[in-house]
Assembly symmetry: C2
Homo-oligomer: 420 residues x 2
């Protein structure tokens, strides 16, 4: 992008100032913009108050080239974003016939028809309309006095897809350049290690660019290129991507996906395999994470959450003598749990977790010690991990789940299933 | 509070503008302030840039009485909040000996000692120091030119407890009044129904005040009073609380707690009872939510996640004929699942869930149909619910869990265990 567009996101809504909701819109929009090389310089949150909003728009006009608003596009008297922005930029609101008809049909579809709903079809004259496929209030974008204004609905489930599908293409066009970005997802190597490998070349790169980011329990490397066309940008990225893959090797679990369980789902689908789970300290989190993916039922048959020794015996058939001799948090019990659930449910694979998520320990291992096992036909792998001191319960539980999915991914990809 | 204090929260950190992290600090601080009657008028997010931060502080000084910053208190060169705020308000930074010694000891405790760490002990002259029991960088509060400035560390696990334990008492003192607030948590009645019951009296109330808030799958009623002392405020709240309890009855699951599983945990503890779970569409979420509470293992023995008919039979002993005749999503199967897991794990109670979280249905029931059962000695209760159309998968799963916990709570409290 030849010109640098500084951006301010103004989120409108008293509920944000009362702390009833978190401003995830600003986070999500910022993330999407950073991927296409547009710099966000400010977020502002202001209540449903015309005077204060007007003043915020004035301040934004002085310090930003692109002003993005979220919220306040609905039909009630609180919803004043369009009116104020139109007023500030001297643009008329006119009725958009397509949106008007659409609202008419939507509202008639089993809903009470009230006049104030039609206010949503009033849009700035000459704007690009972003039709709302995820709700009712349309968004829009317009240019005036050298500024670009984009207005988005507040509910994240409307704002996020509309920004991605409507606002991003609208903003990309402004520059006459296409921006393409891919994220390489990594588990088993930390952000700082990734940074060390590529630091020198990253500093020297201008286009494409490359940057590592830490996520809660894994990390990613973002590769971004700008060119005259999407194909050209992809071509510029290809050799960089190849180089990154060669350097990182098998710690990469996917490109442009969100989590390691997605990679596992794709492999299960490809190889037509099923799995089951036996969870102690993760308390059902592995099953819950996987079944959050629509379509999970074709691959995940079920699992057991076994918090006590007796239940490990009752549901998984773990030998009470083994539990007595080795302790519940042990290599041997992890192995017996995975084998037990796999046999009982007749799945191709099974994973198990037993460990100490804290705050209490077992007097033998420190909190953060977790054994993860993967049982397949004729073989069981056990990984012993230590998550580090001072980790929260939820971090240890999530990390343990990542390890379980990582072992499945490695096994199905024909990679060594690392055991530590 | 006699004077109205308008507040602006300025969050400092480029990672917020890149969308790598969500601004939960501003949300959490806003929520805590609203409970003590302090109005937050603006949130601002700005990067680690001295000029832009300086300008944001100038703007905040024009429109707010209390300026709260989060982030930028650490030891690296990015961390410039204290320097800029001190400069803007003409206050010197001086070394705080207690904090200096504390840092010295902390850093020596297994950490490399570098000079830049001591920068954290440099604090505005005459300020009230908020010692950081949850990390290293201290926070602080000071008054200058009629403005109140409060600075908090950025990491939420430091910011939240420090704000609650240090900043809230500091800000409460300013008014010479004490503010006490209690939240009444409700499941089984929506926010608008609660609003309808109390609308008229709420509008007429000045001190104490009362307001209903919607949460994801339940709601709450917040009662707040201001008085010369905490005891006085509590006395003012008592009759209102009594009135609310009388009106709402048994849909109240607790006061000043966060979720219905906490209420269940307290009852299990009091009555020395155990439970187990059998989950289909919730996929382990009920087990996961309960085991997120430290100490869960004394009451929760384990559970099964049964995604297929075969697994319902293998792990819970559900009769295949029953599954064939009634279907997996049915009153009878919910009952058999709860009874099966209770018997196998030998727990006092057991809950089960079977339903359709979507996107796919079973051709018989609409998506959103969920059966929840509670089995106890000699009796099994089954609740049939329909979560409404167009609900997300995660909403349906969470709501189903709330129903399961609600049934346990009602049973243990001697209330009718409603079956619809």
């Amino acid at each position: 992008m030849s010109k640098t567009y500084n951006t301010e996101i103004i989120s409108v809504g008293t509920e944000l100032l009362l702390g009833h909701v978190t401003n995830t819109d600003a986070r999500d929009i910022s993330e999407m913009l950073s991927k296409i090389g547009i710099n966000v310089k400010y977020h502002t949150v202001v209540g449903d108050n015309p005077e204060r909003l007007r003043e915020c728009v004035r301040i934004a006009g002085e310090r930003a080239d692109i002003i993005i608003t979220t919220g306040g596009l609905g039909p009630t008297c609180d919803d004043l974003t369009k009116q104020i922005l139109a007023e500030c930029f001297g643009v008329k609101l006119v009725r958009n016939e397509t949106e008007y008809q659409g609202l008419y049909e939507y509202i008639n579809y089993g809903r009470k028809l009230t006049e104030n709903n039609y206010v949503q079809a009033m849009l700035p004259e000459g704007c690009t309309v972003f039709h709302n496929n995820w709700g009712t209030a349309p968004g829009c974008g317009f240019e005036k006095d050298g500024k670009i204004v984009v207005m988005m609905p507040g509910p994240p489930k409307e704002c996020d897809p509309m920004f991605e599908n409507c606002a991003i293409p609208y903003l990309k066009k402004l520059s006459g350049e296409q921006i393409v970005s891919h994220s390489v997802r990594i588990f088993g190597m930390g952000e700082s290690a990734v940074d060390q490998i590529f630091a020198e070349e990253m500093n020297a790169m201008i286009n494409p660019t490359m940057a590592p980011y830490a996520k809660e329990c894994d990390c990613l490397l973002q590769i971004t290129a700008k060119a005259g066309s999407e194909a050209e940008a992809e071509e510029m990225i290809a050799p960089v991507m190849q180089h990154v893959m060669d350097k990182l090797g098998d710690v990469v679990y996917g490109v442009d996906i969100e989590c390691v369980e997605e990679a596992v789902m794709a492999l299960l689908k490809e190889q037509k395999l099923t799995f089951s789970t036996a969870e102690s300290c993760t308390g059902g989190d592995i099953a819950h994470r996987f079944t959050d993916l629509p379509g999970a039922s074709a691959f995940f048959k079920g699992g057991a959450v076994t918090y006590t020794n007796e239940v490990k015996t009752a549901l998984l058939g773990v030998d009470p003598v083994l539990l007595e001799e080795k302790g519940a948090v042990s290599f041997e019990v992890a192995k017996a749990m995975a084998e037990g659930i796999r046999e009982r449910l007749g799945t191709d694979m099974a994973v198990s977790v037993t460990g100490l998520a804290g705050p209490d320990g077992d007097g033998v291992h420190p909190v953060g010690t977790v054994f993860i096992a993967l049982a397949v036909e004729g073989q069981t792998y056990v990984r012993e991990t230590f998550m580090g001191i001072n980790r929260t319960r939820s971090f240890i539980r999530r990390m343990a789940g990542n390890h379980a999915f990582d072992m499945m991914r490695r096994y199905m990809s024909g990679l060594p299933v690392l055991t530590e």
